[in-house]
Symmetry: C3
């Protein structure tokens, strides 16, 4: 668990806190918050877009914040919380459970003296000025560069190599991963709403999971998920200056060239190659074996095996036809 503090609240307490009407009496206790797909019994979730109605029908959550017109899609074991502004109300509940996850602050529980770190982690080699928070776990044969900071209960697998000036928080880094200089993994994502002239910040309670054999270039940013995790699949390679937003899932054996940006909650398949400076909008699905040309701007889903290019990205032959002569 990378995020450790939470309380439980009665559902009726939450409705009252949100100033929402109580439809039916309920004794449910809400113990945590999750997304539609992963929510379990006694957890609260949200469905605000018709894109996710199929997931709503199958959710195991005990309560779900929805707009009024989704009511017929809510499963019988799930309490429907009807809201005029589901996202705002959901953020409010997140802030009720996770007040301290709005802004990343440093903890007071860190080690920085070489001998104490050596005592705790016997089988690693680390450079100068390594800072490691107390809840962090590190495997065998790990090499850690200078000025590295590892925070918030992150787990580092065996044979991982970490470059210099890297910051890792709220992350699970599996074995044989290579992270190059200056990358920042696991920071909170870009999530907030302007509401009635105020800022509502979205607490980020997800993690970053980087699977076996991945390589992350220099000066990359991989933000942690809001209520789910950000995931990079096995043996995927990232070049420098890449931005991966919160909740993104990248598949296995992908190749992502420099300066690519992937917006929040987009899902990328396996064996996908993405050319330099391409950008992919949020909440999209990119199929397996897709090739995306350099500098493309992808604004809709792409079926598997397609090759696309352009802004907006279209099939490669159309891009060529459009731009010839």
């Amino acid at each position: 668990m990378t995020i450790s503090k939470k309380n439980s609240y009665k559902l009726l307490y939450i409705l009252d806190y949100l100033n929402l009407k109580i439809l039916n009496h309920s004794n449910i206790t809400i113990t945590n918050i999750s997304n539609l797909e992963n929510a379990k019994k006694n957890e609260l979730t949200i469905c605000s877009s018709s894109k996710y109605l199929d997931q709503l029908k199958l959710t195991k959550a005990s309560a779900c914040i929805i707009p009024k017109n989704f009511i017929n899609h809510v499963p019988s074991k799930c309490y429907p919380i009807i809201s005029e502004n589901p996202t705002i109300d959901f953020i409010k509940v997140l802030n009720l459970f996770y007040k301290d996850q709005q802004i990343d602050r440093i903890s007071k529980n860190f080690l920085y003296k070489k001998d104490l770190i050596k005592k705790k982690f016997k089988n690693i080699f680390f450079g100068n000025n390594f800072v490691c928070e107390k809840g962090v776990k590190i495997g065998k044969n790990v090499t850690i560069g200078h000025n590295v900071i590892i925070k918030n209960y992150s787990l580092i697998g065996d044979n991982v190599n970490i470059g210099n000036n890297v910051v890792i928080s709220n992350s699970i880094i599996k074995k044989n991963v290579n992270i190059c200089d200056g990358s920042i993994i696991g920071k909170k994502g870009f999530g907030f709403k302007f509401h009635n002239g105020k800022i509502l910040r979205i607490p980020h309670i997800g993690k970053v999971i980087i699977n076996e054999g991945v390589e992350i270039g220099s000066n990359c940013n991989i933000d942690r998920g809001s209520i789910t995790d950000t995931v990079i699949g096995k043996y995927t390679f990232l070049d420098n200056q890449i931005q991966i937003a919160h909740n993104v899932k990248v598949g296995e054996f992908c190749m992502i060239a420099a300066q690519v940006g992937i917006s929040g909650s987009t899902v990328i398949g396996n064996n996908v190659s993405i050319g330099g400076q391409a950008g992919i909008s949020g909440h999209l699905r990119i199929g397996n074996n897709v090739k995306i040309g350099g500098k493309s701007g992808v604004i809709k889903d792409i079926l598997e095996k397609k090759t696309v290019m352009g802004y907006p990205a279209t099939e490669f032959r159309d891009f060529i036809k459009k731009n010839k002569g």
Copy 2:
């Protein structure tokens, strides 16, 4: 004052230094350099583009470097310095006043020992390896990450949170600002001219001003102004890997997604949203409540409330029409 050293020079000395003709005798002493809008009595400024003729007519500067054909627009209390190459001559004067502002070097006056810093700043919490130059001022309840460097008379307001590996110089950071890991605020801008086979560097004597409640993501760059300041308005949120060039003004309650670049001297209104990877050329004006789509390339002014997209950016409906079918 973030930039501390300057001398005064007689106007006639400056004309001689530039190898320019003396039109009329003058006893004026030039005490400083500024831009058209902010220049005061006894200050020297420049007007080299017809875009700024309206400002020229109203300037309070005591001298202004201009091309010959602007002479009728110079106010009577301002001495016109006619130059065949106004920008080059202006840079030469800047270098006369501010020789040491061409390149950012570290100062010898810094604190790095924990107990000395604690003694100076009693009400802050800071991580490992914090370096703070002596002229810096820091407010109450400030949290500062590991490996942070604060330089050149920067002021940090109350309740500010600074992530790890952040460098701040020549900046005023107002209260409740959050700056994430790896961002570099207040570095000199990209300003120089190739002239007669040599490089003329432009000293940067402006600051960065970050107003109340702003959030800056990770690995962002906000360069300080050349002769004016770079300003981020209240409650504006920046995602990761954003580049804000010298002299840019961003308004209040703006939302700027990852990997956006804003070129020098552009002015952005309030409540503007800018999608990921968009780029905005220099010296433009973007009105209030404008929406700029992801990856757009904005190369001209945008009136308020418009929604634009594309490269070059056009009104959204034209972008859609052009790209359908």
Copy 3:
């Protein structure tokens, strides 16, 4: 020499190691690996693209890995190694010679105590937490910021200024260069192949060479070459967040604005200006005095003195014509 370890191998041993047929008996010893242009006697090289056939005809290498149909272009003093997959076989040979250059790890031979560094480098001024590997050489009047790391036999010339949080490895930095905060110079490039469900990493044995008077902005990445060097020409200026991939050559007096990306092995002439966020594909040639507009996507060679813009980039007047009305 930035890369120090290598052995020699008999050519017949290498053929056997690659499981390739021996065409003619040979007694050649291979002492090193290089590119077509720079390879000397007793060195092995590769030619896998018809783009480089002219260089193949002139190579001084003693052996060259080629596809079968290039055989008639191989000079008589060069042993042709015919391969069904030249790139894969070449990577295998690189890994035979340079096993330890696949991943950048920190060395154990570094200095970090202030008094030891002062004793070694008498004529420099450095900030807090400077880490310097033992083989590094530094000239006179060099200023080095806080948290800087210099590695792998890098050479730093006279009057160089290095900002904070900079990492330099495998590099030659000539005199009067200015490198700003957070840039990473000399990291290995993005080079690997997926082959039979495994990753083959390409060892990077080249350097980065930054010539006299260059300025590198903040948070830039300049990767070192694979088998040749990455080179930045004299008095070229780079803004922030720029990505220069392995083997790129940039000419003299170029001006490269923020967030530009240049892909591997591209060659840029002198006096070239590149607008912000432009991207240039790999293996291209950009002539002298070319101007590339902001956000352009360059996907083919550009002749000297041309002005181009757009995605794909075309001559400027065509870009204007296409986008008017």
